[in-house]
Amino acid sequence: MTYTQADKNRLRWRSRRGLLELDIVFEQFLEYDFDLLSPADLDVYQDLLMLPDIDLLELVDGKAETTDKRLAPILERLRHWQVVKTQ
């Protein structure tokens, strides 16, 4: 699908999660990477956000592998933002 600014904002809101560990990763991702996603990437991202927080954290942490191959590249990009800039 095509994404209007409002659609993208909806995905931004849905990137707010119930776990701080995820918020921290998504915060970086939204700031530096999200706007570079193609419409096809955004389709996948939208699906990824439907996952329960605990499962999503395990995927982002690399503790679990997904059977859905489409998610792999976006997970890779998210993992990149795991390491927080230290003071």
Binding site: A6, W13, G18, E21, D61, V83
Partner: protein
């Protein structure tokens, strides 16, 4: 007046965490037409983060009694908890857990098939004699399991969910009765009036007022803010629980277990400072004590790092074997959130805000109670609160681990029962809405749309967090808190002029964050001013100029009114429902 769309329900619940969904289930199953509003998808509420467990004196693993659980909770609260509410919670706990089991919650079990119970700090047998296993859990996913179980049951019971709707303000009529809320549908950007016979707030905590917090970003205290703006006083907001070892800068928790395995805390000079403060227990002294010592090290200039603002948790002496085998997830957290590998380097840690003990004042039935006509506690008709946003008050000055999830289900249910009763007996038909019901909320949004020359929301939010972190942290004294009051009042002025670049209507996240910041500042003001006023040390409120608990003058609940920043007090409930009063003792460990 602008024409605002209206929806009508018997009961409206704001918040779909454990508390909101437990209450909703009670109402829907009784055939009450119930709507639940949530900023996020219900199972993404912050309850999902709870891993430790939920307490109840089931006695499945070791002998246990609810009276012992009650004693631990009263002691934990440092005698600020209301003993009727505490009795109600502890006595009802076993039944509440069995109920969850029947709903399908996948608890861990012992061989006989009964629910397994794990040990947890502060849980004791025989009135403090020895530790007892009282925490029930669903692996390390207790909160997740609770949310999923309750959500499924609610869907079956026909609870109507309004997901991604943000409640903005409480609607009270000329009598002060609550008759609904205003809410923003994010998808359309429209403001609605939700007209109700009874409203329950279950919006969770507001841990984001601190710079260092274990809470997710959604914990902005919206229910607290809405209540404050509607003239409801806030109870005991000076009491916040801190966890000593949150990763500096990120907030993510490092469990106590790390120090149990031999991890030690160091200051910038490499000194194991806990030996100085607690020669016997050292790094394993109680949470609040360790937190205070850490804060003192930083305040006295012995903090580590460029800004000298944290201390170090050293593990490398344990060797890679122990770290990799017994603490693998801690190593992961350190690498991920602190950028250090604890096999080689210490982890920067600071005391981190974890839980809000205060909130919207209620009794054990979930009814919101406020002073009126010389009476300390008069029911606000049609208004209820449960969960972390409410103050029943069972946690008093300090919460016992695993008592919060219990609070959600016990008081969620009792609030639901009270609402059913109220709707059936006292409010068979809706009370009319006041003429100007949505004007206030609309004016807040219009202000944001028209604002020019104001400050960015993120900047003002950081200012709130900086003041609260440095002035209302674990370590408090008169001079510092007085400064905090002046500073937070100045920030409150800035909040009135926050500006968002994005003026769009639909899914405007900047606008949502600005509206959340209006709530954060109410919580921050209540916290700072209530703290400055309490001249004693009790539970989480540790005052360096008044180091002792002062039961004679201060065994009372704070009530903070947003209007005029006024402080009032009300007595602690010293009469339990059926058992004898548990008289105060010094809280020793």
């Amino acid at each position: 007046m602008v024409n605002v769309a209206k929806r009508q329900f018997d009961a409206v619940i704001v918040g779909a965490g454990g508390a909101g969904m437990r209450a909703a289930l009670q109402l829907s199953e009784a055939g009450i037409k119930t709507a639940v509003l949530s900023k996020v998808f219900p199972t993404r509420s912050h309850t999902v983060a709870a891993q430790g467990g939920i307490s109840a004196a089931l006695g499945n693993v070791q002998e246990d009694k609810w009276e012992w659980h009650m004693y631990d909770t009263v002691k934990g609260s440092d005698w600020l908890g209301d003993q009727d509410a505490i009795e109600f919670m502890c006595k009802t706990a076993p039944e509440a857990i069995i109920e969850l089991e029947h709903f399908g919650m996948p608890f861990d079990r012992v061989d006989s098939g009964r629910i397994y119970q794990r040990p947890f700090g502060g849980h004791t047998a025989n009135f403090g004699e020895k530790p007892v296993q009282r925490a029930c859990a669903a692996a390390d996913r207790t909160g997740h399991a609770l949310l999923h179980t309750l959500y499924q049951r609610n869907v079956r019971a026909n609870t109507q969910f309004f997901v991604e709707w943000m409640a903005l303000d409480l609607i009270r009529d000329a009598d002060g009765d609550v008759v609904g809320v205003t809410a923003l549908e994010m998808e359309t950007g429209e403001v609605y009036i939700i007209h109700a016979k009874a409203v329950l707030f279950a919006t969770g905590g507001a841990g984001r007022i601190y710079a260092a917090s274990t809470n997710a970003f959604i914990n902005t205290g919206d229910g607290i803010g809405m209540s404050a703006r509607a003239g409801i006083p806030l109870e005991d907001m000076e009491f916040w629980q801190f966890h000593p070892t949150g990763v500096a800068g990120a907030g993510v928790l490092i469990t106590e277990g790390v120090r149990g395995e031999g991890g030690i805390l160091l200051n910038a000079n490499g000194e194991r400072f806990m030996e100085r403060y607690a020669p016997t227990l050292k790094d394993l002294a109680p949470r609040d004590f360790v937190s205070r010592c850490m804060a003192l090290e930083v305040l006295e200039g012995r903090g580590a790092g460029k800004n000298k603002d944290h201390v170090l948790l050293k593990l490398d002496h344990l060797g890679p074997e122990v770290i990799n085998h017994r603490l693998p997830s801690i190593r992961e957290i350190a690498i991920k959130f602190a950028g250090v590998d604890p096999i080689k380097e210490p982890i920067p840690v600071i005391p981190t805000c974890h839980y809000q003990m205060g909130g919207i004042p209620t009794n054990y039935k979930g009814e919101v109670m406020v002073p009126k006509g010389g009476e300390p506690e008069v029911r606000v008709n049609g208004f209820y609160a449960a969960g972390e946003c409410a103050c029943a008050s069972v946690h008093g000055a300090n919460r016992l681990g695993t008592n919060s999830l219990l609070d959600l289900v016990v008081f969620g249910k009792s609030a639901g029962d009270s609402m059913i009763d109220f709707i059936k007996r006292e409010r068979p038909v809706h009370k009319p809405l006041p003429a100007n019901a949505a004007d206030f909320s609309l004016s807040r949004i219009a202000r944001l749309d028209a604002q020019t020359g104001g400050e960015e929301v993120a900047q003002v939010r950081t200012a709130i967090q900086t003041v609260i972190q440095s002035r209302a942290g674990v370590f408090r004294n008169s001079a510092n808190m007085a400064l905090g009051v002046t500073e937070i009042k100045a920030v409150a002025e800035r909040v009135k002029h926050t500006q968002t670049k994005d003026k769009s209507k639909v899914w405007n996240t900047a606008r949502m964050e600005a509206l959340e910041t209006d709530n954060l500042i109410e919580v921050a003001m209540a916290t700072m001013i209530s703290a400055e006023n309490r001249k004693e040390s009790r539970g989480a409120h540790s005052h360096d100029d008044f180091t002792k608990r002062d039961d004679e003058n201060w065994m009372k609940h704070t009530l903070f009114y947003s209007e005029g920043s006024r402080i009032d007090y009300k007595p602690v409930h010293t009469k339990p429902l059926t058992v004898d009063y548990i008289p105060p003792k010094e809280r020793t460990f």
